[in-house]
């Protein structure tokens, strides 16, 4: 099948194309030099053409997402989708059902999304849901920051065995990256206890969060995994946590010589707070961005909050408990043996609320103060900061000072006074938005065929109906927002799947997972080594734990060399 996208204004930062009027040719799911005269032609005159969006951090599938759905019928009652000829029915708002999730991403021009927190023991569940999310390519990150075997190996200094174990875990869970959530702290929460500092020992394990972060960072480089360690830092529940965020980046800085980028700190807005109490909480964005601007080894995603109702969920059970106590809202907790935990709490961010307004400011300050757009990714940590369907709102805030001022005029007055945001002039360009939302994320994930429109790339393309010659996004941010809410066309693997903002075809994308190579019989030795303890710690048999490749609807293995 051939397609010719004619005369669009193309933004393709990885290939240094910045708003040029040009044609894009597509054949058999890939971008090609040229197509025959039989190709279907899309007239993209007066439209923006970008690679399909790549979301690096969005909770779309798995047991805690489903706990959120189960817990919140009130979230679904007011937002639902009818069954239509080309699409399945579903429900929405902050925790959409699987089909609705895929459709809504495609409608916004996103074509690849990563679920960032999969409990290994329940990875099958994550993959079952990913199998039923249409329209997008996907993958999941495996939670390893509180794993008993990893903590034991690292404490004993058995880094080689630990490496083999991590490789086996990624293969067994069909995971894409190493994810750490409150390293050591979730294990402490297994006893209802907390970890405060990077150097506090994990109860009964005699290892510190610092040692876990450093160890897994080293292993991540040894295995040459495509994505750096993806870290939700300690201390999310505390006010002055920006220091922990910087200390966590710092602790792996000296490891960065070989690989320039060795840590991804996620949803930094949540761990960018300065101050000593909720009354005097300030933004720590200046300090964090100054670190990132000076040091090239760290990248971040924002975790922007959106005012309104949403559902918060993380593997950081202790944080969710705190949020439950603070808000009085209902609370679910789901600890997972040997590995991790999870919590879910509904939450409403209010403009008039001082802390919420500061949080809103931290996210935008971070994005605007970090100079290199390749090292700050746009997320809302869906659904924690707000539903992913609100991305166009974030784009408008980034591109338009006017849009920011409008919101600033409505937020809590004390917060407004204490933020430096009102004094920031920077406005993102469309090319920079393309970096934040697809090029940089694809690059960070090591997906070489995504995030750009060069020959050979996957033909995942978003076409937005906005004429850059007629619309100034800085002034007419409402038109910008509207254009990015629903594409004129979304093309997935060379097929038109969305037209005029409506799904015209349901397709199923691939699931990426990483298979790391380790030397000789290391993996076999490690499996032998853990087997006996495995049966003692877990309630499932060792043989029933790994997920076969055939379990994934369309598996796509990425090999990594260690």
């Amino acid at each position: 099948m051939e397609l010719l996208i004619r005369n669009g204004t193309v933004f393709d930062p990885l290939n240094h194309v910045d708003g040029e009027r040009m044609d894009i040719a597509v054949k058999d799911g890939k971008i090609v030099e040229d197509v025959s005269s039989r190709a279907e032609v899309i007239d993209a005159s007066g439209m923006i053409v970008m690679p399909g969006g790549v979301d690096i951090h969005s909770h779309i599938a798995g047991s805690k997402v489903n706990t959120g759905r189960l817990m919140r019928p009130e979230d679904h009652y007011r937002d639902y989708e009818f069954r239509r000829p080309q699409r399945r029915a579903g429900v929405g708002h902050s925790i959409p059902s699987t089909y609705t999730t895929g459709y809504r991403y495609a409608e916004m021009g996103y074509t690849t999304v990563f679920e960032p927190a999969t409990p290994p023991l329940k990875a099958r569940h994550t993959h079952e849901e990913l199998n039923e999310i249409p329209m997008i390519d996907k993958g999941c990150f495996t939670l390893l920051g509180n794993n008993w075997f990893i903590m034991d190996y690292l404490r004993e200094g058995r880094i080689e065995e630990c490496k083999g174990f991590v490789a086996w875990m990624l293969e067994a869970t069909k995971g894409y990256a190493v994810k750490l959530v409150n390293p050591g702290g979730v294990e402490a929460w297994g006893w209802g206890r907390y970890i405060i500092g990077l150097d506090d020992p994990v109860p009964r394990f005699e290892i510190t969060p610092r040692e876990i972060v450093e160890g897994l960072c080293r292993i991540n480089s040894m295995l040459r995994l495509p994505h750096p360690i993806h870290v939700h830092t300690n201390n999310m529940a505390r006010v002055g946590n920006y220091e922990t965020t910087i200390a966590t980046m710092e602790t792996v800085a000296d490891q960065a010589s070989g690989s320039p980028r060795n840590i991804h700190v996620t949803h930094v807005q949540f761990t960018g707070r300065k101050g000593s109490s909720w009354v005097n909480v300030r933004s720590g964005a200046e300090e964090i961005s100054s670190y990132v601007n000076r040091r090239g080894h760290a990248e971040l995603d924002i975790g922007q909050i959106i005012f309104g109702d949403t559902t918060t969920m993380t593997a950081d059970g202790s944080f969710q408990y705190l949020l439950h106590i603070l808000s009085g809202n209902k609370w679910a907790n789901a600890d997972v043996e040997v590995e991790t935990g999870a919590g879910v709490v509904p939450y409403t961010y209010r403009r008039s609320n001082y802390v919420n307004a500061i949080q809103w400011g931290i996210g935008l300050e971070l994005a605007l103060l970090i100079e290199d757009p390749w090292r700050i990714h746009m997320t809302t940590d869906h659904p924690n900061g707000g539903p992913f369907t609100e991305y166009p709102r974030v784009i408008a805030w980034l591109m338009s000072r006017k849009a920011r001022d409008k919101t600033l005029s409505k937020i809590n007055k004390t917060a407004r006074r204490r933020l430096i945001l009102p004094g920031i002039d920077r406005e993102y360009t469309l090319s920079e938005i393309a970096i934040l939302t697809r090029a940089a994320t694809a690059k960070s994930l090591g997906l070489t065929d995504k995030g750009h429109l060069g020959v050979g790339a996957d033909a995942d393309i978003a076409i937005y109906a906005m004429d850059v010659e007629k619309v100034d996004p800085s002034k007419e941010y409402r038109l910008l927002r509207r254009a990015f809410r629903r594409t004129a066309y979304t093309i997935k693997e060379g097929e038109i799947v969305v037209k005029d903002g409506e799904i015209v075809k349901t397709v199923f994308g691939r699931t990426f997972w990483v298979k790391p190579w380790v030397k000789g019989d290391l993996m076999e030795r490690v499996k032998e080594d853990v087997r006996e303890r495995f049966e003692e710690y877990y309630t499932v048999r060792f043989g029933n734990y790994p997920i076969p490749d055939s379990y994934l609807r369309r598996p796509q293995v990425i090999r990594a060399g260690g």
């Binding site: 599938a61 639902y80 079952e128 040997v338 309630t539």
Partner: protein
Amino acid sequence: MEVRDVVCTVCGCCCDDLIVEIEDNHIKSARNACTLSTSKLMDHRERLESPMIREGGILRDASLEEALDRAAQILSEARYPLLWGWSLTCNEAVSIGVELAEVLGGVIDNNTSICHGPGLIGVHDIGISSSTLGEVKNRADLIVYWGSNPVHAHPRHMARYTVMSRGRFRRSRRERALIVVDVRRTDTARLADLFIQVKPNGDYELLSALRAAVRGEELEQEEVAGVPVAEIERMAELMIGCEFGALFYGVGLTMSRGKSRNIDAALSLVRDLNSRTKFTILPMRGHFNVTGANEVTTWLSGYPFGVDYSRGYPYYNPGDTTAIDILRRGECDAALVVASDPAAHFPAGITRRLMEIPIITLDPYRSATAEISEVVIPTAVLGVEAPGTIYRMDGVPLEAKRLVEPPEGVKTDVEILSSLLERVKILRG
């Protein structure tokens, strides 16, 4: 041939350590299996042998194609069909069931609505402080069974997951205390360190009194729900004083007076306890994949059971869109029953309603429901003759295996439901 790590498909424990000896496509023995499991694996219950269609009032043998055609016709002509069962089959089958309900504009409901439904309604209201069973095995020093009798209903629960299990931080029975709350001295209660005998239907009062005691309030009565206040206070002390507690509740709590209010109280009690110590609560789910049925239905529709697609989108209102209710109101005009026997288990009045409408039954075995059906299609036994994903009571997914081949010509639930969906889609255009 010996097959190891076999996943049992009887109760919500989903024990996955069975060792099964197979000879000549027959199961000769099963090690590590409880009595319930053995009786299923070595089953000699009467199987349905051939697809059947009712003709002139009598069920006659038919070809699979014929049966599927007739089933598709009944369903696609129905205005408001009920798709019932789903707890004794795999997730893959449930997923097709949800799409079928969507295409037909019918209701998909699973056994939850007549057993642990109140537990899930409680979660809508309160949330739940929960964990996987391995957390209990490794950490718990206090176990509470409330309105459940695992010695008989979940025979290996205590040995594999709770009081008698051996984990990283708790090595033996001596390191754990056991409290049992029930209306009678059950066999589980006989093993308890503290047995609390609650008056029938007194659970809500007792839970409320416990909550008060846990919050440090003084109880002014002599006794609550037949339990002396001193004992309530003792139980509260044990719960506050443990390092990691786990409360398991059964249908004794969900189906006695108060229903979802009982669960609200239990969930609230455990939530409150988390300000003092670590505490989790888990339902003792009966069927081996009723949890999976809830999970699949939730990720596809947003709701765990009783999902009504008659509006064209998922709608949920338990007590209104659940099987018993739509049958009682006489609104339902056809039923698809998958791996369940409602005619034997629904209230008599509801079964009479069921007899007035055409039923399609998919089941490996003869059942009362099969006897009153228009179409009967035999299926392979999941976890014995058919593979598939199932969820343990704590949401841990496991892959049930195919151990032996099904009888000649017998298909799996997934195969039959896929064919049925295909046909219905054609008939419905």
